[in-house]
Symmetry: C2
Subunit: 376 residues, 2 copies
């Protein structure tokens, strides 16, 4: 997998790069909208490409495995063919959802037994199974099967869990190489660094992961409830060990602030449900700050949602209209807010990239941080 | 209000016309998507214009009066400014929703007392109030305040109700002329023919309405549960009396079959929640017949939703993908199905118009009727 670091910020670890896949080039740093069940909730594929300007989206193996199921996905020719998204896709391994959503979970050396949150049916995921599932889904980037520890986590459990994740990683890599792609385009496997919030475990895990020499690397088990300072500390430690010439993906992160801060620590890729989930609840991220659109103060504010960025939803619809839709529980409210928030996230990482290229990243970031975290 | 009948079908009462408003020309026969609370559910304004190719949409006075309320709508400069739809809008008078949705309804000569279905607050609608509300909403075509009788309905009640509707009509017309437009563009008032399913009452009502010499006329109180044959019979009677040189609007109708049949009886305008409401439940109207997309048989049908019509949603997404979204209760499922159904409805009336112009309407209609009512 070709990854070029084009520019490195002299005042931080931030970098601007290009990641090449068979479905297109991804300019980094990048935010990847989450398309849980093969759809980024409330957003058309055309809107994702043309309005949000997403260059890669996520799919969730756990959800796709349960519905529509592997038989349908394989018959369709993979997720790209199934949902019509022809740019890159990344899938998680299903691990995180098994821990956060599934029922009657039981972890063994071999894998994880669980029951579907939809119909209670029994399933068993192993590292090998997670690879098989992701071969069928056919994402461009696929993730190793790991255990994601909760926060807080006892040191002993975190250590044992991390070691299990490393053993599972070797099984993933081995299985990955024994079974090839199904649809003609290349797939790349990213391992995941674990170790909870313990610096020594994070160092060990980063070194183990780096040694596997995979095409890109991810950091998991963060943004699960720990203070932001701990998340940044772990990210900094891990980034200092993971190879510079490979893309680094911080899983499940986060707020606009988290993203800018983590870019400065050397992260290239992000995903998070926050822009879409919060949108459905009426929380907007804008270039001027955070808006709770349900607030009375927006009821007669007929100005566009966000004039500071370009985009149909952000510029065409007014705050007062969006407030009316969200208060009235109209589907269009979720649609507008979701497109807007994603457009803002993609604008944010694209602007960060431009600033890195211009050598003005840190000054811009310090300025943006003040704006994006204030409540309007 | 300028309305030109451009072509009249020699074998039926069908006609093709053009209706001129300050927000644009409406080619008839036309179907008007229902935008209850200032939004056609699950469809962006841009999609309505560019994909669905709607030339006019509806707003509901009852819903808009309750939310966002008249103060906000007036501050915005009317509904067009509020929701950004710059083509024609028609609003109903609120009468139908007061009867079907509101609570503690009490009808007097003066008007209707009711309680909001949202918060139980007490309100009082009169013919004058209905006009005032519609002046504030600012639709291009506004409707007289009527009583819509249920089906079945006793003859005596239907007669008394119809007479009340006629007295209310005169109050509407008088009030309409005493208060002018608020936003610079012209508004036109359409009276409504009532009379339940009684031919003599329908004749009386049509004559009363015709005498008022308003710019267009509507038929209410149909499609409320009566057999289709009775609906067609009433429509035929009323159309034989209403002036040919003015547009005729059959309120709340209906299925694709109902629309083609009613076009042949001389109707020019239609509205119905069916294409959007049924879409959200997974029922699709297509050029080949009716699809219940939840049905197992579509699970691996990767062909487009409808290749017989042109449109993003209909051509881009597959039946199997839409089935997955609807089964998974994903918002995008409601979005795709809504755009598709509306695109089909607009395609149907546009094609009917072309056939009327070509003098081939009846042959085409007979052929289409077989297709559009069959279950696939």
């Amino acid at each position: 997998m070709r990854f070029e670091v084009e520019f490195s910020d002299p005042s931080s670890q931030a970098r601007a790069g290009k990641l090449h896949t068979d479905h297109g080039v991804i300019e980094t740093p990048i935010f990847m909208p989450v398309g849980t069940a093969g759809t980024v909730k409330a957003v058309h594929q055309r809107e994702l490409a043309e309005d949000v300007k997403a260059s890669i989206i996520l799919g969730n193996s756990y959800h796709l495995y349960l519905r529509p199921g592997l038989e349908i996905l394989q018959k369709a020719g993979g997720l790209h063919a199934f949902n019509g998204w022809d740019r890159p896709i990344l899938t998680d391994s299903g691990g995180y959802q098994v821990y956060s959503l599934a029922e009657n979970r039981k972890i063994t050396e071999e894998g994880v037994h669980f029951r579907s949150h939809i119909d209670g049916s029994a399933h068993f995921f192993t590292p090998e199974k997670a690879i098989d599932i992701q071969r069928v889904i056919g994402a461009d980037i696929i993730m190793a099967f790991d255990e994601c520890t909760p926060y807080p986590c006892e040191y002993d459990y975190a250590k044992k869990s991390m070691e299990l994740t490393h053993r599972w990683l070797d099984r993933c890599i081995s299985h990955f190489h024994q079974h090839s792609e199904l649809y003609g385009h290349k797939q790349y496997l990213f391992p995941i660094v674990q170790g909870s919030t313990f610096p020594d475990l994070r160092r060990i895990s980063a070194e183990e992961v780096a040694q596997r020499d995979q095409p890109g690397n991810a950091i998991g088990g963060l943004s699960v409830g720990e203070p932001h300072e701990e998340m940044y500390e772990m990210t900094e430690i891990v980034c200092s060990i993971l190879p510079k010439e490979k893309p680094r993906y911080l899983m499940g992160v986060g707020t606009p602030e988290n993203i800018l801060e983590s870019i400065s620590l050397g992260i290239d890729m992000f995903d998070c449900v926050m822009p879409t989930r919060n949108a459905r609840n009426g929380m907007l991220f804008t270039s001027e700050g955070i808006i709770n659109i349900r607030n009375e103060k927006w009821k007669d504010d007929f100005s566009p949602i966000d004039e500071g960025i370009e985009g149909y939803a952000s510029n065409f619809y007014s705050k007062a209209y969006l407030r009316h839709l969200i208060i009235s529980k109209e589907i269009l409210g979720a649609q507008i807010a979701s497109i807007h928030n994603l457009t803002f996230y993609l604008w944010l990482v694209k602007t960060a990239r431009t600033m890195i290229k211009n050598g003005t990243f840190i000054a811009w970031k310090n300025n943006m941080m003040e704006k994006i975290k204030r409540k309007l």
